[in-house]
């Protein structure tokens, strides 16, 4: 529990300093192409990896289960421009329903 708090507070401090750095650094930093491209690509890579792991990882194995069905429904909802909460609720409901039906 203490480790969790320490990591949580470190994350909070780090995220605040990252925000403050943006408002404090000279604007020219943004003009370096590598910095700009990395800052744009980093969230894409991390979020995509998180989607994959959250949906298909079960401990140390890769599985296709009710979560994948939930994600498929989320894709459809996003294509239909549903808002965030609707996407999340539909994905959860799909997985819950599938588990209820398949036991």
């Amino acid at each position: 529990m203490t480790t969790t708090w320490a990591a949580l507070l470190a994350l909070a401090a780090g995220c605040y300093l990252l925000k403050l750095a943006g408002l404090s650094l000279p604007t020219g930093v943004l003009e370096r192409p590598f910095v700009r491209r990395a800052a744009l690509a980093l969230p894409v890579a991390l979020l995509a990896a998180l989607v994959a792991v959250q949906t298909a990882a079960d401990g140390s194995s890769v599985v296709v289960d009710a979560r994948a069905a939930g994600l498929a429904v989320a894709v459809v909802a996003l294509l239909l421009r549903a808002n965030f909460l609707v996407v999340v609720v539909l994905a959860a409901a799909t997985a819950a329903l599938l588990r209820l039906v398949t036991g």
Binding site: K19, G22, L47, A49, A52, V53, A93
Partner: protein, 232 residues
């Protein structure tokens, strides 16, 4: 003719609407937070102190998958790096210094940056930034508490599909970033790399390793800008 500040009114309306929509999904963060093994206090502390949704979801996502809190924090930090980019863009628009800048920094998130970025003057940008950031902060924290209290009453989160909700939440955060083909390539390679590493590495590591895909993509020379890219 009806208003001396039509732009500013539109910014306030937009900011409040964004705040409401974003705040509501704080409920899902709160519920998933407690079902990932955090206490109500820890879940609320994340929303109050970290206050950047993707990093918060990453932290609880890694914990829920059995990863260490430190790899969760590292993933959250890397996701938080995009706020630095927003800040760099906001600096000339907000033109704050000293303690105002230090206070404003906490509100630098996707939503406040997007709304302030549409303003054409410094006063308008400040109004848009503060209304949006303030509305999101108030509602995000309130709804996190509501979700966390509801989540503790739920029992097994899998029954309600809350594990599937986390993946969907990440996808919804990712979706607007997939406009150009190079971003879609980065996303596909990163997801594939993470899945390949799942059986071979401890939980949390596959996601951290996927960050390397972004760095490699950024280092590749001669990438066309999205506006000139004709490939699909």
């Amino acid at each position: 003719m009806t208003s001396p500040h039509p732009d500013r009114r539109a910014l306030v309306r937009e900011g409040l609407a964004v705040g409401l929509a974003t705040g509501l999904y704080g409920t899902s963060f709160g519920a998933v937070g407690v079902t990932s093994g955090l206490s109500v206090l820890q879940t609320c502390a994340l929303s109050l102190l970290v206050f950047t949704g993707a990093s918060q979801f990453a932290f609880i996502g890694v914990l829920a998958a059995g990863g260490s809190p430190w790899s969760g924090a590292a993933t959250g930090l890397m996701l938080g790096a995009r706020n630095t980019l927003y800040g760099l863009r906001l600096t000339p628009l907000l033109a704050w210094r000293g303690w105002r800048r230090a206070g404003a920094a906490h509100l630098v998130i996707d939503e406040s940056s997007a709304v302030a970025g549409t303003a054409s003057t410094v006063p308008d940008a400040r109004v848009g930034f503060l209304v949006t950031g303030g509305a999101v902060f108030a509602l995000w924290n309130l709804m996190t508490l509501v979700g966390a209290l509801a989540g503790t009453a739920l029992g097994d989160p899998r029954t309600y599909g809350l594990d599937a909700a986390v993946g969907a939440a990440f996808l919804a955060l990712l979706w607007p970033r997939l406009q150009d083909s190079s971003a879609r390539r980065v996303a596909l390679v990163a997801a594939a790399l993470a899945l390949v590493l799942v059986p071979a590495t401890p939980a949390g590591v596959p996601v951290l390793a996927a960050a390397s895909v972004a760095l490699v993509a950024a280092a590749l020379p001669g990438r066309p800008a999205p506006t000139e890219g004709a490939d699909a």
